[in-house]
Subunit: 314 residues, 4 copies
């Protein structure tokens, strides 16, 4: 590496300023030339924007973590509704919470130290804790009621087909992720579906149900296979990250854009915290890809990215 | 809380000493009266020991993370072989790596900074990185070869039945987790099985395969339902943690013992990092349960726990 | 706790929406009724706002971490200039980097994977790395030149008096933290001053220098002692956090407002990651205090807080 | 990089086994050829062993974090007493807690969830919390009593000289770090000394005290300057890490061995979590150095390293 190269590679840090006229676009543009996670957040915004603007790019979105109970249902809804997602991979828990909100139930939150409420007391009151967010047990009764009335068209349909079927039953004017994906014809994959409250209710009521998980797997590979260009945004790692990644190995060019927002780190070897760079060795991300990992709670980073995208993408 | 109570609750910190005669049992006993994660590790050892010694306690073991590529296959093998596990819940990735080792393939490691090896170069050399551990692509050919010869008895069998069938095909004298569970008649549940290299090969070779994930889910609930006493050891969170937890809600007494080893934390609301105390609100762990979370890489903590258990449990 | 209480404590999660009209104030207000770190960020904004609006509240600001090299010099400058800080406690490193920028030197950043630049190569090129931000060695020559010309009025003055003296020498129109504090007559405490490049240059040039650290300590206690109301904002923990905390034990009411932004966690017992709640036991924060810890990189959270404060505080 | 190189660099992962005959030396030797933090722990053991066995290597030990309250006083004592440390750099808090134990006071611990004890109640009972370890306020009275009787020989002596003087006053048969360093003539540097309970008591009783921090700084540089070979072990980062690092820039060969044990990570740019590799760019660690960072609570990793060293170093 010559001196000339070094000058090209290293640029002045931008000592940016917040002014009366600062808006989200200007802030993100300012952060691009800073350091640490502020810069990574700005790069992620840039990459997502380019991913949206690139014709034919298939945008995979992996969603783990309890974002819907935490109040981000409409943020995820907007990603779908605005066309920022082509394929959604998520957890059964997220779908269960989404369904609960769609059915008119609400998650609760408390305005105090998370240790203030005794978990034994909550148990007796039949209120379940997700850190500082809470879900009453009676929500499950509502889900059970909904599930018991479902007339499942095919007990061996794929999970994604089943989720589409569920989405169709939900109120049109809700901010449900399930409904929005149905409306937009966006497939939802949920490889660990049976690891959820929704699937448990389904299983209890339909002892012969055998939703075909392998069909989903093959469909997902086909989508990747057919994608001329691919990009991904990974929230929180987990099964959604791996499922997208394993499929993109079959994409002719693998991923050209990649974003992940996580609190996990690489050093203990789990996939959730693995660097995106590592995915190049596997052929999940291509050598020329643009990628950015933000070490941040997604409840902070994801609304900012959405805000930036809505302002820049018309 | 009266003064008397405070004296009972707070005890002198043990300023322990490492001597020529220190062995693992003495060390762990010393750490019980210290603080921070050293104490939590000692408590976890104690809890696991009690769990083993309690007649009729069903021991659930959740295994996420890349422990087998990192050299802990025989550690997990010993947990099974020694009778420390009654039900194993794990990821498809772990099973894929386990199968690879059972078929005679090896994982590799490098003795240098993880950044030293360029991922683009690795890609061209067809070597996949898992932080500082590596798996050549040719391993997949071996797995494909194995999979292509499998005569699956029932394409709608449960995943756990299928994994038992796979275990039976593997060499008896290996340290394979799949084989050990077959030999010991310990069920392996893998709710996100299709999220793995092994399942992909299976799906490619058997387009009609539809392993019944719901059957697994119901079986797991039945095991929990029938357990008079239950305990769990969770490595790394993820789907295995949630799957065990959701089932234990149906155990009459929920869990009486709980250990988790993870680098994840509660603050961003994901289940992997959720406190065990929180599980009391859900009825997954009972109010009188003994529990301990160790914030540690499992590659450090798990061998220590095994070492302690093998020395104390005869 | 009665049912009535539970209803008061637990409120509906706000499924907020980003619209065309969203501004930073509305966003933060929306996040107040969500969960996880988004909520904590919103609470921190609220608390800081109240702290500013409370007459007579002395606002302590603890600044650890490399914010100035990362491009946040003007953000910190604005906190000072807008009157959001009454007492600054920071590290010698931050002051060294602030001085460098004030003298016209620049920090550099690279737009690629942090592993892309070999550290051995950087060493030969005399460029020092701070993760993805860089400082050429020649900056030290500039600092040395500045230091060699200083005519220190009293070799036994306190560190804070010395820093005021330094601030006075710096260009008026800079965004230097040192200069801004001089202009606003805000004391800067730096308990570990000799742990910095600036102090090393000073020591080499003034072998008899003995800046009085104990004087600073007593002055800081006096400020706390005299404060009718006190609040603190802690960035990153470290010595600044502890120094503010130990002084507030002597504040008649201890702190009434407390914010911390950190990536550290409580479980391994270090003060940087300690919960703010724990500070109540020590009498550093009072029983009725409002407090919020945000688990976030400060490069993301701090500009957002500033943005909110500038918009709401006129 | 040729194929031949790759074979040299990547070696088989050791699927190690815990047997009846496993001792700490065998375990560590097994872990050397594994992955993730288990491997890093084994490498750290190896590096420390080599550092001890290398004639003329000056061993710097940086100690941040609350290890003494957590029960590791005798572990640190042994590192000193066995000759594994030549220069100690630590925090004022550690020295305060060390003094407390040396004066016969005790730290307390509770055997329950850290959230079980209300901090407001603790405040009223005058018991201070350090996560799950506790220190009664009356300890400060004991320290005050000790401090008030000290006849400080020179109010402008260096902090390290003062700490030597304190060590001399302490009981010979204690496991005090201060006393052990006095006995072994090992300097203790404490750059942020005034950031501690001990220094506060000193300052209150000796209003004219002006311990010379710059003298320490210059002495530390001289020690580094004179070191033909240097190594370091960093516990927890903070000021001790930076102070050792800044001095080693003046060591002709900079550090040849480096170990750090921390829970901090590099991504948010703070020095505590900075990679050791990064220190090469600064000339703090040399290009041929052996180094290992263990992401672990030091309460787990440090006793293991000591155990290994005591068994292998006779």
């Amino acid at each position: 590496m010559s001196d000339k190269n070094l000058k090209d590679i290293l640029r002045k840090v931008n000592q940016f300023k917040i002014t009366d006229n600062t808006d989200i676009v200007e802030l993100i543009n300012s952060l691009k030339d800073t350091g640490f996670n502020a810069k990574r957040l700005a790069l992620a915004c840039e990459i997502y924007k380019e991913m949206i603007n690139t014709l034919g790019c298939v945008k995979f979105f992996g969603l783990a973590g309890a974002l819907i109970p935490a109040g981000l249902q409409r943020v995820v809804y907007d990603f779908i509704n605005e066309g920022y997602i082509d394929v959604l991979v998520t957890t059964g828990a997220n779908l269960t919470h989404d369904l609960a909100e769609a059915l008119g139930f609400q998650h609760l939150q408390g305005d105090f130290d998370p240790n203030g409420l005794d978990d034994k007391y909550l148990h007796r009151e039949e209120i379940n804790r997700i850190y500082d967010v809470f879900m009453p047990n009676k929500v499950y009764e509502g889900i059970e009621d909904f599930v018991s009335k479902l007339e499942i068209p095919d007990i061996q349909m794929s999970v994604s087909s089943f989720l589409k079927f569920v989405g169709k039953q939900l109120p049109k004017n809700s901010y449900s992720v399930l409904r929005a994906c149905y409306d937009k014809d966006i497939p939802i994959f949920c490889p660990a579906f049976t690891d959820s409250g929704l699937a448990m209710q389904l299983g209890f009521h339909n002892q012969k149900l055998n939703l075909n998980h392998f069909k989903d797997m093959l469909e997902m590979v086909n989508i990747a296979w057919d994608a001329k260009l691919a990009g991904m945004c990974i929230i929180g790692g987990g099964v959604p990250k791996n499922f997208i990644m394993q499929s993109l190995q079959f994409c002719p060019n693998s991923a050209t854009y990649a974003i992940q927002i996580t609190m996990d780190r690489p050093e203990s070897g789990g996939l959730s915290g693995a660097s995106l760079r590592e995915a190049i060795s596997w052929g999940k991300i291509n050598e020329k890809a643009k990628y950015s990992t933000i070490i941040s709670d997604a409840t902070i980073a994801l609304p900012i990215i959405l805000w930036f995208l809505k302002k820049t993408h018309k």
